[in-house]
Point group: C2
Chain length 338, copies 2
Amino acid sequence: MGVVIAFEGGQRQTASLDSLVALTNSDMALVNEFIMEKAQSHVELIPELAGHLINSGGKRIRPMLTIAAARMCGYTGLHHLKLAMSVEFMHTATLLHDDVVDESDLRRGKQAARVIWGNQASVLVGDYLLGQAFKMMVETGSLDCLRILSEAACTIAEGEVLQLSVSQDTSTTEDSYLKVVGAKTAALFSAAAKVGGVIAGKPRNAQEALESFGRNLGIAFQLVDDALDYSGKQATLGKSVGDDFRERKITLPVVLSFRRGAEEERNFWKRVMEDGNQTDDDLIYATKLMERHGAIADTIERARHYGSMACDALAIFPDSEWKTALLESVAFCISRAH
Amino acid sequence: MGVVIAFEGGQRQTASLDSLVALTNSDMALVNEFIMEKAQSHVELIPELAGHLINSGGKRIRPMLTIAAARMCGYTGLHHLKLAMSVEFMHTATLLHDDVVDESDLRRGKQAARVIWGNQASVLVGDYLLGQAFKMMVETGSLDCLRILSEAACTIAEGEVLQLSVSQDTSTTEDSYLKVVGAKTAALFSAAAKVGGVIAGKPRNAQEALESFGRNLGIAFQLVDDALDYSGKQATLGKSVGDDFRERKITLPVVLSFRRGAEEERNFWKRVMEDGNQTDDDLIYATKLMERHGAIADTIERARHYGSMACDALAIFPDSEWKTALLESVAFCISRAH
């Protein structure tokens, strides 16, 4: 991509997912086979619905993290593939349930499963994939990995419920918002990276470094996503512009704009977010307010801050192509906003 | 209760849950403490919603099965309590998701959680409880139990999806219907009983006996439930009469009535179940048709057949108060219809 991202402490990192994709390529081919195999069922609707989402072109960044973490830690077995699959299924199950919860019509630029097969099937197929994820974890025989991933499952659900209760509340603070992000997004990134170190038998300090790497990368990833939702760029990413706005989600760009805005602006945010009284022009005005207060730019700055922490967390690992690939993927996440 | 149920082979069994409740009483007190503790979260909505369902007076028959199976097998540790809690949480999560899927307004005679807190929260709190269930299983350190229960989780979800696809289809055969019941209800009964034997370290034949006991008891339990849905008795059980009818669920009484009915009757079933064109009088007429063809009585006869298999499955265990309690609970399930 040629983009270079500057992090705190003067570290500069090429922004690219290419190395990670290339290095994990053969492992990911096996993970993808597993995914197709384990989404099967004699109940036809299951592979049909699961396949719709599985084949919808997600980047599979979470399972790549598990693989890269395990490989960077020198793991040579096969269990990391099962863990990677479990992580992706947990993510897919979350997406299916999220679409029901958010009443979304689109997912990755395609019709959401719930629109085609209904909310009912989306809830149940999500449950099925979660069950399959746990079955695969059991196959690795690692109780530590099972503990980490089942804790992540709880935390993710907690984060989603928390998001429900803060949603449409313009008085949400940056801290509360970060709690939501830490749970609903960062918990799975964090677990995905950590289990790679655990399955490789690495000591606690390496496990914690990976956990911290994943958590901070996850936060950066989500913040950039939030920024992209208000930028024209996202159209090229297969999402509709202003989804969060229409769903009245309070994300960091809104939190910052609300806090930095004058009384009149705050009334605007209350009307569109709390009362849900919106027109198409309101989205344009919202973006203008964000620009006025540097809310998008500062959301990306915050993301860069978490990206720095992610990079620093990997410092205890000796240099390797795997480590470089992981560092470049952090920069890539930030660069999506540029 | 004084009721005695006759099973195939001339076996006669007192129908009562009293012995099971009395014997498991002190263990269940600990399980209930666990349940309250693990339904906690710093996210307020979670204990609020979970508590609503947890305190709604379910009989907790599934965790009692786990405890009784473990104790009958001579288990003296504490892990069976964690397994019992996991089983109940899996069940609670299923109920929360079921209500969303079925769009039910009532659950155990109270407003369904989804009516009070919305579908969104019900989906997510269900996910949270499922995560907590897996965390507890991990704490037992038994990969065998984790395997059995995660397989059950998949099977249950598969059964629910299968039910979606056969729902409102009057041509459903008894076999297809039994497949649904085997998955959505019997899989958890079966796993609940089996893990009791597994945690007690019993050999495979004992584990399989418990699995078979649980599966057949689960089928009997569901068939009696289906019969009760068309009988006045269910009003005393805190359910509304005719729920299945209004939700156009094809259960065994409908399958039998449809198959045994004349052309005109079949047209009636198609109108009310497939087209969903129903009046209150139709429920009365449906019950009359069931009576005409002995559909309710034969559904209970079928249940008695599965009950017999459940009792026979326990034959390999030496006599004990635990075994007697389990046998009486089978008879109790059948007797609910009397």
